[in-house]
């Protein structure tokens, strides 16, 4: 909706349709969707809980609609951003031109917990590090997109993008007849193509696998889903072993060579010989094969160095440095509390700002000033003063809303968007992404662990 309450033009057809639906009819469809999601088992497991308490992520039936020209802009900006970030990671682990040019301070790299010295000097196939990036975007005004976060490690949610679309087509086929919605269902095909394109040099017909920490991981559904949709094996660490400078999987017909691993577990757990020794999820010796260039990991080890909130403020400069272009997508203005004057500003304006822990994730360890009580603000002030270097602060944007089906009917709720950008020999993506919605009134937090839901995302073809 626009500020004056009028319906934005690309929502008009949908709004007319919606006006004709009764609350009961939508409620019935919602119950149908819940049942179907449960039967299909699109649930996320909660750690430590038994099988009976798998939770559904709430699905909202009102799609988020993006007009073609806005998507064109977004796509251009996403390609640019991910290209620059890949060049940045490559540079960080090799010549480090950007540090020597004084664009990014060396301490921001070396003191970053995600920096992996083991990666220094290693060549990866096609010089690509973040093969799959999930860039979180918010829209603040017409054509005004801001990047909230670059997720370059193991971004998840793409299965919800695909399942939400399937569900909408099943519940409301008539809507797809009246809207030209760009398809997203070929994502697994793009992903497989992308993963095959970054196989180690000389491998003609690479064997690709998806690697999961196991069925109790909260994103297990997605891991299994992607492996199935791509027709590749879903492996756990114990299915793999290293021998003769190669990675093999244990099959019923004996060992089989593995060339590309789309791994969905963090660096720390990949190889107990190189990283956390107590990890039973990884493969002993994996890093040695990786360093020899005889297996591809997607994403590469050490990509986290570029998606950290401490690097985020530098991304526009990173784009200018490597591409000599102006960034298409904005950064949210960010105050780095490690700088004295920016800390002072933050402390003086706490009630208006969102303050985030540099290494935090999942919406934990943050302060949403406008929504916090006086006491909460004061408590956070103490934390901030104790460790200013681990916090950044950002203004709360006038985030765009999307009509959302809630108990009392249809009401606006805050949303964000996570498009998935694939990098291999080329950059590709499907039009759209995962739209997350903050179901609680006034809430800005869309994380599923904080009660957020998802919506189908429609990019209109014209």
């Amino acid at each position: 909706m626009m500020a004056d309450g009028a319906v934005r033009p690309h929502y008009r057809a949908f709004a007319e349709w919606l006006a004709q639906q009764t609350h009961d009819a939508i409620e019935r469809k919602r119950a149908e969707a819940d049942l179907a999601f449960r039967r299909v088992g699109i649930t996320f497991a909660v750690y430590g809980d038994n099988a009976g308490t798998e939770r559904l992520i709430p699905f909202d039936m009102i799609p988020r609609i993006i007009p073609a020209h806005e998507w064109a802009l977004l796509q251009r900006g996403l390609e640019q951003r991910v290209r620059a970030l890949n060049m940045f990671i490559d540079d960080i682990y090799h010549e480090q031109h950007i540090i020597r040019a004084g664009v990014v301070p060396a301490e921001q790299i070396y003191r970053n917990a995600q920096y992996r010295p083991e990666m220094q000097g290693i060549r990866v196939a096609s010089d690509i590090y973040a093969h799959i990036a999930g860039i979180d975007i918010v829209r603040a005004g017409a054509g005004e997109f801001y990047v909230l976060e670059d997720n370059l490690r193991v971004p998840s949610g793409v299965s919800y993008m695909l399942e939400d679309r399937k569900m909408m087509m099943r519940l409301y086929p008539e809507l797809f007849a009246s809207h030209k919605v760009a398809p997203v269902e070929h994502y697994p095909d793009l992903l497989l193509d992308n993963l095959r394109s970054v196989a180690p040099v000389g491998v003609i017909d690479p064997t690709v696998v998806v690697m999961t920490p196991g069925m109790y991981n909260s994103a297990y559904f997605e891991h299994a889903f992607l492996a199935q949709q791509m027709g590749v094996e879903l492996v756990e660490g114990k299915d793999l072993f290293v021998n003769n400078n190669a990675v093999w999987m244990r099959t019923t017909r004996g060992p089989r060579r593995v060339d590309v691993i789309y791994r969905r577990l963090d660096d720390d757990f990949l190889d107990p010989l190189a990283f956390r020794a107590d990890s039973a999820l990884g493969v002993p010796g994996l890093l040695s094969v990786y360093r020899a260039g005889r297996v591809t990991l997607a994403n590469a080890i050490g990509t986290g160095v570029a998606d950290d909130k401490s690097i985020y403020p530098y991304v526009p400069a990173i784009i200018r440095f490597y591409l000599s272009e102006e960034p298409v997508l904005n950064n949210v203005p960010t105050y780095q509390c490690r700088h004295r004057n920016e800390l002072d500003y933050t402390l003086a304006n706490l009630a208006q700002l969102v303050v985030k822990e540099v290494h935090g994730a999942g919406g934990y360890g943050m302060l949403v000033g406008p929504a916090a009580s006086k006491q909460e603000v004061e408590d956070f002030r103490a934390r901030l003063l104790a460790r200013p270097d681990v916090y950044i602060a950002q203004p709360t944007l006038a985030l765009s809303n999307c009509p959302t089906f809630v108990e009392n009917g249809v009401a606006p709720r805050h949303i964000d968007l996570r498009p998935f950008v694939l990098s291999g020999k080329t950059i590709s993506m499907v039009p759209g992404g995962l739209t997350r919605v903050a179901l609680r009134e006034g809430s800005l937090v869309v994380n599923s662990s904080q009660g957020g839901g998802t919506k189908d995302t429609w990019v209109l073809e014209q």
């Binding site: 039967r39 009976g52 891991h223 879903l234 114990k238 299915d239 244990r250 099959t251 019923t252």
Partner: protein, 312 residues
């Protein structure tokens, strides 16, 4: 195919089949209990059923005296009893979940839906009100599981390992059912009651109508044994199960499996060319006991050869 994947598929199928067989045995006992008989005989029958599944001790520890209601409860809802229907269907679904990417959506949904419905049915009290209808439901879910597998899955190793699990489990169950009934009849000479025993036994393996069709004659223990052991066209017979075991083993053959194939082939051949008179002369119980041991050994060998191979 990954060894771990094959292992999950094998056990998913095995547990589904086991749940079905437990439902079959319970159903027959519930039906038989409706016949006029002494309380002692009824208790005997329930005790025999626990004996088939080697669960007498576990049951005694928990309940002591044998009562229909407790036995059913133990065999259906007790999560601590690894052969209970709830334990089997939960394990089947957990195995399916671990490899859901390997299954077609339909196969996975059947497993998941069975599990979800099971909880609803047990909460709703259906087991108490109408146990037969509940057992019927378990059987149908198992039929559906096998059917959707054959109807939607690519005929590759995944299906082979599922079939291996199904038929090793079924062979084991049929042999046990046959063995316990023979045990009983040896001690009990009443021919009139015998008829009901054998009829019940046949019904528990969906064999009553088949028996009439094949033999067109009165029911005799020797023919029941022949039907359930040596007839290749009887879908739950030992020979029919071994047909499947041998066929599926051949499909997944690898560098180390030849001895397993040989042992399966030998057992298969003994059934295929065996005669019921010879078996009875040797002693049915001894034959069945040995068969159970050999099936157990085959299951272990399948695990060793394919499902949990040693590193490198």
């Amino acid at each position: 195919m990954l060894s771990r994947t094959a292992d999950h598929l094998f056990w998913m199928a095995r547990y589904t089949e086991r749940a079905e067989n437990t439902a079959r045995m319970l159903d027959v006992n519930v039906q038989t209990a409706l016949l006029p008989q002494s309380e002692d005989a009824a208790r005997q029958a329930w005790r025999a059923m626990l004996g088939i599944s080697e669960l007498q001790q576990a049951y005694d520890r928990k309940h002591g005296a044998v009562a229909q209601r407790d036995v059913i409860e133990f065999m259906v809802c007790d999560p601590d009893n690894p052969s209970s229907i709830i334990a089997c269907l939960t394990a089947a679904r957990e195995n399916a979940r671990a490899v859901r990417g390997t299954l077609t959506t339909e196969v996975w949904e059947v497993q998941n839906q069975t599990y979800l419905d099971l909880r609803r049915r047990l909460h709703g009290g259906q087991l108490r009100q109408d146990p037969s209808q509940f057992f019927e439901w378990v059987k149908y879910r198992s039929h559906l599981s096998r059917g959707v597998t054959l109807g939607t899955m690519l005929r590759d190793e995944a299906v082979n390992f599922m079939r291996l699990g199904t038929f090793l489990e079924r062979a084991d169950n049929t042999a046990r059912i046959l063995d316990v009934k023979f045990h009983d009849s040896e001690s009990e000479a009443e021919t009139r009651r015998d008829f009901y025993y054998w009829a019940a036994l046949l019904r528990s393996v969906s064999g009553f109508e088949i028996y009439r069709k094949v033999y067109r004659d009165v029911i005799t223990p020797a023919r029941v044994a022949e039907l359930l052991m040596l007839r290749a066209d009887m879908p739950r017979s030992l020979l029919a199960c071994m047909d499947e075991v041998v066929d599926n083993l051949r499909e997944v053959r690898n560098d180390v499996s030849s001895e397993t194939e040989r042992l399966a082939g030998q057992l298969h051949a003994e059934l295929r060319f065996g005669r019921i008179d010879d078996i009875l002369q040797r002693g049915l119980h001894d034959t069945l006991t040995e068969f159970l041991q050999r099936i157990y050994e085959l299951g272990n060998r399948v695990s060793r050869d394919f499902l949990v191979p040693l590193a490198a």
